[in-house]
Symmetry: C2
Subunit: 394 residues, 2 copies
């Protein structure tokens, strides 16, 4: 079925993660994505392991549903062809370092002369402006600079990186928001524009209550493990065979939990109210863990859930991807890749009632759509495309 972005045409010059993740979301929502790759090697992430039949599982997962053409942007003819493609596109998205596109003669200012309706989105580590603009960025560096590591970890001495590359992913997601909002502006005014998204800005924007706490108190929060700063018990606890989360948001839930856990603490003045429980968490935590260790996780999850005490498993990736709810929500779907064969990829978290977003096909092989795109968009014949390939323009 056609998605909410049906008819929108996107030139995707991005590599690795942030930009490709953005273009993937647009593809899932029904836009036509033409990924423009370097002849020969293509997107760097085609070389990232692990591989399935020689194809990168990583590349395939975040480039599903796109078309691939090759184009050498350093050759004059390559530049010309890119300009011709940009004339036909609604959106161009790139994640080169600032200045690279300008040097190629392909900056927003240059391209909008050819297509004033073009929405040009650039996703970078530090953005198009500011003192660090020219620096290279990696997710690790940005998570550290952006404060995310300073509030994540088992204790104050152990700042910890988030296991997923969320600095990249948030940049991709905010770039998508920028493109979609710019499309809305264009519907109203006919005007294209440039969207500039920096990974570091995105990290600052999602620090959440850490900023509010700092602004109100002047003190920087530190990592506090898995517990909540002002609710208890609201943490992970250790069972006979693992770990679960429990979330007692009020005194009533606490009393219910004590009864089920066999803890005679509900009347203990140290733990009678939430502020007392937070203040005495160092004493309370071992008592709870001692009780929880008497049964396995499955027992506690069933018992607590039946009584309405919010809780959940700490799933590993295998458990997540076989969870009946995750499967019912179509959050793991199969695509069949021409080389790698059938492969599972994450589904689409934004569900639409009338114009569904969905995984629309496998990732392309390098240059798979050269004939189709240069033919359909620019009217080049097969012989012309073959010659461009021989000349290493494509």
């Amino acid at each position: 079925m056609s998605g909410p972005l049906e008819g929108i045409v996107v030139l995707d010059l991005t590599r690795v993660l942030a930009g490709p993740f953005c273009a993937m979301m647009l593809a899932d929502m029904g836009a036509e994505i033409v990924k423009v790759e370097r002849p020969g090697a293509g997107d760097d992430s085609r070389a990232f392991g692990p591989f399935v039949n020689g194809e990168s599982a990583y590349f395939m997962s975040i480039n599903r549903g796109k078309k691939s053409v090759t184009l050498d942007l350093k050759k004059p003819r390559g530049k010309e062809l890119l300009v011709e493609l940009a004339k036909k596109a609604d959106v161009l998205v790139e994640n080169f370092k600032p200045g690279v596109m300008k040097k190629l003669g392909l900056s927003y200012e240059q391209l909008r002369e050819h297509n004033p309706r073009l929405i040009y989105a650039a996703s970078t580590g530090f953005g198009q402006t500011g003192p660090y603009s020219a620096r290279p960025a990696y997710d690790l560096v940005i998570q550290g600079m952006g404060g995310m590591m300073s509030i994540t970890g088992p204790n104050a001495q152990t700042p910890t990186k988030v296991g997923s590359s969320i600095a990249d992913i948030f940049a991709g997601v905010f770039t998508t928001i920028g493109i979609l909002a710019a499309l809305n502006h264009r519907h109203r005014t006919g005007q294209g524009q440039m969207v500039d998204v920096a990974m570091l800005d995105c990290m600052v924007a999602i620090l959440e209550n850490a900023v509010a706490r700092f602004v109100a108190s002047g003190k920087s929060p530190t990592p506090i493990g898995n517990r909540h700063p002002s609710i208890a018990p609201f943490s992970t606890v250790t069972t006979a065979d693992g770990m679960i989360s429990i979330a007692c948001g009020n005194d009533e839930l606490w009393k219910r939990f004590c009864k089920l856990a066999g803890l005679e603490l509900a009347e203990d003045p140290r733990f009678a109210t939430n502020p007392e429980r937070v203040a005495h968490w160092a004493e309370l935590e071992p008592l709870i863990n001692e009780a929880m260790k008497k049964q396995p996780s499955a027992f506690w999850l069933e018992t607590l859930q039946a009584a309405g005490v919010p809780c959940g498993p700490i799933n590993d990736i295998e458990a997540v991807l076989s969870d009946p709810h995750v499967l019912a929500r179509q959050m793991l779907v199969e695509v069949v890749h021409p080389v790698a064969g059938a492969m599972k990829v994450p589904g689409v978290p934004t569900k639409f009632s009338e114009s569904p977003a969905e995984v629309r096909g496998p990732a392309p092989t390098l240059g798979q759509h050269n004939f189709e795109v240069f033919g359909k968009w620019l009217g080049l014949g097969e012989a012309q495309v073959r010659r461009l390939v021989e000349e290493k323009v494509l």
Copy 2:
């Protein structure tokens, strides 16, 4: 200046974090947001500390630039007024548990009878469908169930929650994407629709290479601290006075790093190539830390950056919010609240060249815009609004 969503009118029935974060992004981009709150108490997060002059810093930070009206949706007159407001709105966003709006007679199916162009977005823990749909959800529970904790932490035995409520925030962000894409669909077709976003789905969608690695190998990844699974050195290291990140993506950078760090390891066969360095990381890490401990972080950052070795500080929140680049990018901005006074809030990470997104004003006090909204939208006079307040409908 007007933003890219100029002219879009949003009814915001959300509370706490995921939904309010979504509506905040829409407000920053220039949409008119009318936040509909319970008479008396309002959004639960108005009661969350820390407080500035009695106003919640947390509430103020994620509700800036919105208008507030009060409305008791359980009273027949309250329902009627909500329907009248929904007739005038482009978008309605809510984050009640599934079924609550239907019970109130205000589900999407019911509201679209009155406004077929309405985009109705629901942000929940588990979504409108699937076996866990009715369960309550908390960020902690979802981070555990969604696998994020299983790949975050200092070692395999210590699954760790991300310090920011990213399950909530990603749900807010993906809901924003759904609303904006649905607006695009409506521009083309005139048709509204329902957008359904679940926190758990969002967590699965952003597990990134953890899913690709599991799909390719059948093995669930575990937390590995701050290092990279397949590049070394690409990690945090300990200096004389703290910790920094370094990211040597190739052998050339490794050699340069060794020279600067005074390490005679570049020719050591255990560490000559990246695969060797990854394989011998347990031996290499203490050697690097020993060298790094000889100087403070500032020395190493300056030395390494001057030589082009990617690196960065591990900033606490105070350092982030006083960083010259963060300030140059306007990622910390001041709003003046009528009660709390001047207050800093995070800026907007999506930068537009022609229709800027920006923080458009302080958060509203409860019901601050009752006269304005019920007057302007529904034509109610001041006396009528006063009577509705007396009757506790507002």
